[in-house]
Symmetry: C2
Subunit: 114 residues, 2 copies
């Protein structure tokens, strides 16, 4: 199911990724967010390689029981593999998607899907 990561401090929505039961269990047990990578078909410990782990403060479930909200403390200030604070860095402006957020870290240093 879709899982939304929201920064506990800034309240910004960082990422939408996916979780299954195993990912949720690992997240709760370790206190660090684990997603289910659909493209790689495996558990994905967010930040395992980049160091940009997301510590979990709160886990919420929606009314239909099919979406998760994670309130997190992101480490390193970068959640997106493009080297930006968050994945939602494009804003709709006069029918164009425009890049609205700066690159904070060299994206070649942030591994794809991490």
């Amino acid at each position: 199911m879709p899982a939304i990561a929201q920064d506990a401090a800034t309240q910004r929505v960082l990422t939408l990724a996916w979780m299954n039961r195993a990912a949720l269990e690992r997240t709760v047990i370790t206190g660090e967010v684990h997603y289910w990578s659909r493209s790689r078909a495996k558990l994905w410990h967010k930040g395992e390689q980049s160091g940009h782990v997301q510590r979990v403060r709160e886990v919420r479930l929606d009314c239909d029981g099919d979406a998760i909200l994670l309130i997190v403390e992101p480490q390193g200030g970068v959640a997106c593999h493009t080297g930006r604070e968050r994945c939602f860095y494009r804003r709709l402006d006069a029918d164009e998607w425009r890049i609205a957020d700066p690159v904070i870290e060299d994206p070649t240093a942030v591994y794809r899907h991490d």
Copy 2:
């Protein structure tokens, strides 16, 4: 694709719903959020019946181009069909999902899926 509605004022994540191209177009043209109802297989003007429309302040797209973030001004203070402010009203607490948010409005007055 999944679409996250976030309250522009409180910054709370209200709802995860779904959009297609037509829903996004109607949202931009009208300035009020339209989702794609997967269960009913039709466009769904949020709040059309309940009055709890969501005015759009900002639309963002994620890095993979497959998730939308809507910054909205929700009308009436209720986004969930259960009569709560937001759909993410259950919080994980010692391996149990506990209801953490109060009902604001009689849920029989808030139509299902609206």
